[in-house]
Amino acid sequence: MSDIRELYQSVILDHNKRPRNFRKVDGANRRAEGYNPLCGDKVAVQLRIEDGVVRDVGFEGSGCAISTASASMMTESVKGRSLADAEQLFQRFHDLLTGETHAEPSVDEQAALGKLTVFSGVREYPARVKCATLVWHALHSALEGRADPVSTE
């Protein structure tokens, strides 16, 4: 059971059961969709950005526990951040799961990643990494203002 609990930590299970910000965003001005053709997971991200800051963020879609929890925790993590901060967090999260490193994270960034590090266990499951990163790729695309749905393939 220990391996299972390492991957499916209680925080992840909790966010899967009660996803936060699972809703449309009033006055959203950035949107993006993510699609994993391998498993059919779909996620749509909406953002309301004012003065270069993510004022509100929500998601909709269906997916596995890893992708749902990742989306839920993403919304909590980026709300209130500047665009640049949110983008950097995407990069850090991506690095955390793929094992690539771009630069040493700053203390702030480490703190920001904080609870997101529950996903570090996913790194051991290559087939599941995309489940966790899908919504972040959608976020990245929305931040860049791209309209095309992102795909994990």
């Binding site: 059971m1 499916y8 299970l13 498993c39 997916g63 890893i66």
Partner: protein, 409 residues
């Protein structure tokens, strides 16, 4: 031996089955609809071929080439016997089922399907028996029509009969559904189609390892399967086509081996089946497939079918007793496949937790997205059986699902 399988002994023929996975669990392999494991006889045949006989075929005068050619053509004869075809020249080696279907779509289809014509498939087809026909229909301005399935996953035969119209040029249908396990009444279907003068291709990818197939008894025009789902190597499969049809069909790939003579002005094509086998084929694969067929025949397909049917019934009962589990695909006639969903848990999470328990199943849409849409699920978990699986392994699956339920309480 032929009456009752000695599964414990047969498992010894499959070296891969006896291993412990990285999480310390023994392997429970229940992903046989994706690919089957290989018996030692097949593995040894590949090694022996490369160690002793390797040479190109149909060309060399030297001994190795002659041995290699003989072994390759001998494999073709084994496939012929296995499918009950009238002649070895009716067997075309392909990379697998997918390539066989594409061959028929591109050769027979292009010559026989015109603008306004119809190609008929079913709602339970694998993408490989959908997309080649879509491509053909798009090119020709023809229409792809789909026979619906009911809530159990059975084909609606009345609809099939209704859809076989004056413009229908070909019916392409799975013998056994990879996503649902449904065994289609292909003999009856072929009869219906032939009454209307419609040619029939049967996708036998999920059938040949589980049931005896006789193409002449079925009366089908084309039948195809993949070696790797029949305990043989990947990258090799076969297309059976009735002689008259194959004779009339144009080659679909040009190259070496498929020609009789070539000048810059004119090329004369080789005789059947070589006309459809351009380039150096997967010689070792074909030989390995021949050995796999011999292996299956020595175990006995009737005994395999009987054992698997009993195991499937056991597994169906066992899964029915697992809380929150619902089977997708409960057709009257089924083979090997248990597709299911678990309430409140995504199939991927089911798959990952079972993997940690050493149990290999498939999760996802199984290359049959229209089937998922039909049952309104994004994906399913699928356990699929082979004759080397045991009741103990089904019990392990049920216990694993118990773990899933614990984690996702």
């Amino acid at each position: 031996m032929k009456d009752k399988l000695d599964v414990k002994r047969l498992r010894e023929d499959f070296p891969i089955l006896h291993q412990t996975l990285q999480h310390g669990r023994p392997l429970v392999y229940l992903d046989n609809a994706a690919t089957t494991q290989k018996p030692r006889a097949v593995i040894n045949a590949l090694v022996r071929y490369y160690e002793r006989d390797n040479a190109n075929i149909h060309r060399g005068v030297h001994e190795l080439s002659q041995r290699s050619t003989a072994a390759f053509e001998d494999a073709r004869t084994k496939v012929q016997g296995f499918l009950g075809a009238a002649h070895p020249s009716e067997i075309v080696f392909t990379r697998g089922t997918t390539e066989a279907i594409n061959l028929v779509a591109q050769s027979f289809g292009r010559a026989n399907v015109d603008s306004g014509d119809e190609v008929l498939i079913s709602a339970m087809e694998h993408h490989s028996n959908i997309v080649p026909w879509q491509m053909l229909c798009e090119e020709k301005g023809a229409r792809l029509r789909v026979v619906p399935i009911d809530d159990r996953g059975d084909l609606v035969l009345d609809e099939l009969s209704r859809l076989l119209g004056p413009r229908t040029k070909l019916l392409a249908i799975a013998h056994v559904s990879n996503a649902l396990g449904t065994v289609n009444p292909v003999r009856e279907i072929i009869e219906l189609a032939h009454e209307r003068g419609v040619a029939v291709l049967v996708d036998g990818a999920q059938a040949v390892a589980h049931t005896r197939v006789d193409v002449r008894d079925l009366g089908c025009d084309f039948y195809c399967f993949s070696g790797h789902k029949l305990y043989g190597p990947t990258g090799i499969g076969a297309l059976y086509g009735r002689s008259e049809l194959l004779e009339a069909m144009a080659p679909w790939q040009g190259g070496g081996d498929m020609i009789a003579s070539v000048t810059f002005e004119k090329t004369t094509y080789n005789v059947l089946p070589h006309k459809f086998e351009a380039g150096t084929p997967h010689i070792a694969g074909a030989i390995g497939l021949g050995v796999a067929i011999e292996y299956v025949q020595s175990v006995g397909l009737d005994a395999i079918a009987a054992y698997e049917s009993e195991l499937l019934a056991y597994a169906t009962r066992a899964l029915a007793g697992v809380p929150r589990v619902r089977l997708i695909g409960t057709a009257r006639q089924k083979a090997s496949v248990l597709s299911f969903v678990m309430q409140g848990v995504h199939p991927h999470d089911v798959g990952t937790i079972l993997d940690l328990e050493g149990i290999a199943i498939r999760t996802g849409h199984h290359c049959a997205q229209p089937v998922m849409d039909r049952f309104d699920v994004p994906a399913t978990a699928r356990a699929s059986l082979a004759f080397y699986n045991t009741r103990d392994e089904i019990d392990a699956l049920v216990a694993g699902l118990g773990r899933v339920a614990e984690v996702f309480a």
